[in-house]
Amino acid sequence: MVGILIGQIAFSIVLASIFLFRPSLTSAAGWKIVAFVGLCVLPGLCLIGGMNTHVQRSETTRFCTSCHVMVPYGQSLYIDDANHIPAQHFQNHRVPADMACYSCHADYTIYGPLNDKLRGLKRIYLEYVTTPPAAAAIQIPGGFKNAQCLHCHAGARSFEENPVHSTMMSTLQSNEVSCLGSGCHDTAHDIANLDHLKFWKPLQ
């Protein structure tokens, strides 16, 4: 996909460079059309393609963990302990492994993807312009919302038939009781203890 887009960009560059060196060609009608395609249509398509590729790429686990401060969070996905919720989800493919971060941290609302991108830009600003926070000090603004768990688990038989879940479903949906902070599933990214934990090594 990226290869096709780069090919399209290269073709656009070739077309555009014709008018960089020979702008007088546009006096002929046929070249006017070529100029319109080379300087307006193709660059516009390249912009749309580039934005689409970058947005898709920004949702990958590899992208998130390419930021220095996120490296320990990426390592915590390999902790060999089923009580660690992110590790258990990642290792058993309960979320797509190549989109593990985004699956649980995306804002599943109408303007969610836009809010996610704005939050990401704010983090880039913190990382490169101001003093970045220590990895362990990073907090999700407003805390981790149950909606992100319920996006997948709500409606699932194993989840709803669990008597603990069924008795407190309304409080879970209203976020009164947190899935993570209520003492039920409270081991998330335990990056403070990474040195003392065992790690799972995938075959590939």
């Binding site: 960009i9 960089l20 580039g50 992208f63 930021c67 490169y128």
Partner: protein
């Protein structure tokens, strides 16, 4: 040579230059897997390409100008 013709050619050159520079930066951003590559694309490459397209569209307005003045 009319002044407007020289102006159009300058605008076309500027447009081509901006589009080419923006596209080269877009290629760099696509090959560079890093959070900053998104910033490079969204704020620099996209800005240059968008400006290039805008300059080209402005040059079209210049082309339309002389035809109207001659009554064609």
């Amino acid at each position: 040579m009319k002044l407007s013709t020289i102006g159009i050619r300058r605008l076309l050159r500027a447009s081509s230059g901006l589009v080419i520079l923006g596209m080269l930066l877009e290629i760099v951003s696509l090959l560079w897997f890093h959070p900053l590559s998104f910033v490079l694309f969204a704020f620099v490459a996209a800005g240059l390409i968008g400006l290039g397209i805008l300059v080209y569209l402005v040059s079209l307005v210049f082309v339309a100008g002389p035809s109207e003045s001659t009554g064609r």
